[in-house]
């Protein structure tokens, strides 16, 4: 990869400027068929893709993503293996990794940020690295042009929300509910509330994730938000061996629902 990674924020804003809503699917890195799933999602209307790098103790993740994690870890697939494979991915939308801080810490902050750059990965989402602990990482990320997406939760105070939105790059990841990743039967009211709170104070794209698992929920939350992140519902398709085609079809369904707005 010789050119700089595509900027997440610019890509999303392009969609938003045209009156559209953004869709960011999450795919577990290293899982069988994940590269094909990335291509399928990209071709079916994703605006960016979040690639999970499995960690042994993912405290923000529910049973679906945990299970996919465990399968990858059992095969001894390392974070570096995943980053190497992604180097060869050739798509027109930006990529971000989602992993836990110990993976980054162990790698070395500079070295990890640089590895992301070398693999053409634009952003990083680290759910157990809150803003107060993020200083060293943000420096390393800045140095390597990595956009660090910060998370805003329903419990976040107004003061913190200001800081988070100001410092977040790429977009603001609004956590839709009090809880861990996983599909819920209904959209939590908190999803709309947190999206609204973020939108009121930032011009950056605000995407809601956690608890968004159906085209209907994606549409509902995106009435307020600039779009959403869909994870467990997609990973479930990989777990069920439905393959990249099913991932693509599902992403297209959500895209269709969002385009109705």
């Amino acid at each position: 990869m010789n050119q700089s990674p595509i900027r997440i924020q610019q890509s999303l804003q392009k969609r938003i400027a045209k009156g559209g809503k953004c869709l960011v699917p999450y795919i577990t890195g290293g899982f069988e068929g994940y590269i094909e799933a990335i291509y399928a999602a990209a071709e079916s209307g994703a605006d960016a893709i979040e690639i999970g790098i499995p960690f042994s103790d993912p405290v923000m993740d529910g049973p679906t993503i945990q299970k996919a994690n465990d399968i990858v870890l059992a095969k001894k697939i390392s974070p570096m293996d995943i980053l190497q494979e992604i180097r060869d991915v050739d798509i027109e939308i930006p990529l971000a990794v989602m992993t836990y801080y110990n993976i980054v810490y162990r790698f070395g902050l500079e070295r990890f940020a640089n590895a992301l750059y070398e693999s053409g990965i634009s952003g990083a989402i680290l759910p157990d690295l809150p803003l107060n602990e993020a200083g060293y990482w943000l420096d390393a990320a800045l140095e390597n042009e990595t956009e660090t997406v910060l998370l805003a939760a329903p419990t976040t105070t107004d003061k913190r929300l200001q800081d988070l939105c100001a410092q977040s790059k790429g977009f603001v990841y609004a956590v839709g509910l009090l809880g861990i990743t996983g599909v819920r039967s209904e959209l939590a009211r908190s999803a709309v509330v947190i999206a609204g709170r973020c939108k009121a104070i930032t011009d950056k794209p605000v995407l809601v994730g956690v608890g968004i698992g159906t085209p209907q929920q994606a549409k509902e939350v995106s009435e307020v938000a600039d779009g959403c992140i869909v994870g467990s519902a997609i990973v479930q398709k990989l777990l069920d061996n439905e393959g990249a085609e099913a991932v693509g079809a599902f992403v297209a369904d959500i895209r269709g629902a969002l385009d109705e707005l």
């Binding site: 960690f55 042994s56 103790d57 993912p58 405290v59 923000m60 529910g62 945990q66 465990d70 870890l73 390392s78 974070p79 570096m80 801080y101 110990n102 993976i103 980054v104 810490y105 162990r106 790698f107 759910p127 157990d128 690295l129 809150p130 803003l131 107060n132 602990e133 910060l150 998370l151 805003a152 939760a153 329903p154 419990t155 976040t156 105070t157 913190r160 988070l164 956590v175 509910l177 009090l178 809880g179 861990i180």
Partner: protein
């Protein structure tokens, strides 16, 4: 002086911090604020001290061991945390946290447990204060600690099996944190050791400081001086910090003893898991390794951040012992003193037994953090 309050960002030297999802940050900050206020409040202290005395049975005695001393060739004293209500030191911390949680308006306690001692203590405090209680316990530990599972249920707690990963303490903590992320508004996470995000390592140590304070006074009374060595087992390390806190400013050597299969100081490198930066057993990519120990309470790949700091600055030293040494020590104390220890403190005794030449002529204080009833079934199968 070596065990003061952590820095404003929750650090002991380089270790500690608050590495938790954003959802939990406001709860950790509120807890820190509430604890800081309560700990400086005489009426809170009095209320807690009354509970510790009239409910938990403090002060716990200091026992001089004549026959064990003769066997080992040096003077041995035991701080008898095994005689507390619920059978271990865990009750000190749990009464403090439950009282604090109640004052913060929380109605539900969430806890993790390894051997079940912290789970039993939390279930006990929940019953005492009329709070709901959920305890996460690794599937493997539920099998080997059936008695404690029954006790928790008897006390009205819900015990939930942690079936992910190694299905032991580490995974029970993951599940407890996931629960807390979803229930943070009405639940308090009653963490059982000197680990996790700030303020837990500090707060839990403070609630166990009573062990060291009492022991220090008792040593003055019995010996007229400080012991030469103070030792305790270390998983997360709460009982060890409790007793160390009373002697950190003396000349006494402080020795923490870890299981060989969970020796975070010996085999670990700095890493971040469960909310803090500390020594951690991990692979080259930062995946946390599974600890393996005969003792469910020490079956943990990390260690509290203040222990990492004490090791780093050389104020405490950390040793490791094998499961078979522990089994021998378990029997040794039973036979020489008529005290059946929990497998956890038997680790410290195992080191004392191995190091008898080094310790000849010294006076050694061991924190006997719990009693061995819970381990009887497991030992019965092993020893026949």
């Amino acid at each position: 002086m070596a065990m003061t309050d952590p820095s404003s960002d929750g650090r002991f030297g380089n270790f500690g911090g608050m590495f938790v999802p954003e959802t939990l940050i406001p709860a950790c900050e509120a807890l820190e604020e509430a604890f800081r206020r309560a700990w400086a409040d005489i009426s809170f202290r009095e209320e807690l001290n009354a509970l510790l005395a009239d409910y938990a049975g403090r002060p716990s005695p200091l026992t001089q061991c004549e026959r064990l001393s003769e066997e080992l060739g040096y003077q041995v004293l035991l701080k008898r945390e095994d005689l507390n209500h619920t059978g271990s030191h865990k009750i000190n911390n749990v009464l403090g946290q439950a009282l604090l949680a109640k004052k913060m308006g929380k109605s539900r306690l969430v806890a993790e447990t390894g051997a079940g001692q912290h789970g039993v203590a939390t279930a006990t405090a929940a019953a005492l204060f009329g709070m709901d209680c959920v305890v996460y316990m690794g599937e493997v530990d539920i099998e080997r600690q059936a008695l404690n599972v029954f006790r928790m249920r008897l006390l009205g707690a819900e015990v939930i099996s942690a079936t992910s990963g190694s299905r032991t303490l580490k995974d029970a903590i993951n599940e407890a944190m996931r629960d807390w992320v979803a229930t943070v508004e009405d639940s308090h996470y009653c963490l059982g050791s000197v680990m996790g995000p700030h303020p837990y390592p500090w707060m839990v140590r403070e609630f166990h400081r009573v062990i060291g304070q009492e022991a220090h006074e008792q040593c003055q009374k019995i010996l007229g001086r400080d012991p030469d060595v103070v030792t305790a087992c270390v998983g997360g390390g709460s009982n060890a910090l409790g007793i160390f806190s009373g002697f950190v400013d003396t000349e006494a050597e402080l020795v923490g003893v870890e299981p060989a299969g969970g020796a975070a100081v010996f085999r670990g490198t700095p890493g971040v898991v469960h909310g803090s930066l500390s020594y951690l057993m991990q692979d080259e990519w930062g995946q946390v390794l599974e600890a393996e120990s005969i003792s469910a309470g020490l079956d943990y790949p990390g260690i509290g951040p203040e222990h990492a700091h004490l090791a780093h600055i050389g104020r405490a030293r950390y040793e490791k012992v094998s499961d078979s040494e522990v089994v021998d020590a378990f029997q040794l104390l039973s036979r020489t003193e008529g005290i059946i220890p929990a497998l956890e403190p038997a680790h410290a005794l195992a080191w004392m037994s191995r190091a008898r030449e080094e310790l000849a002529g010294e006076t050694v204080l061991l924190n006997l953090s719990g009693r061995g009833d819970k381990d009887a079934t497991q030992m019965m199968e092993l020893l026949g």
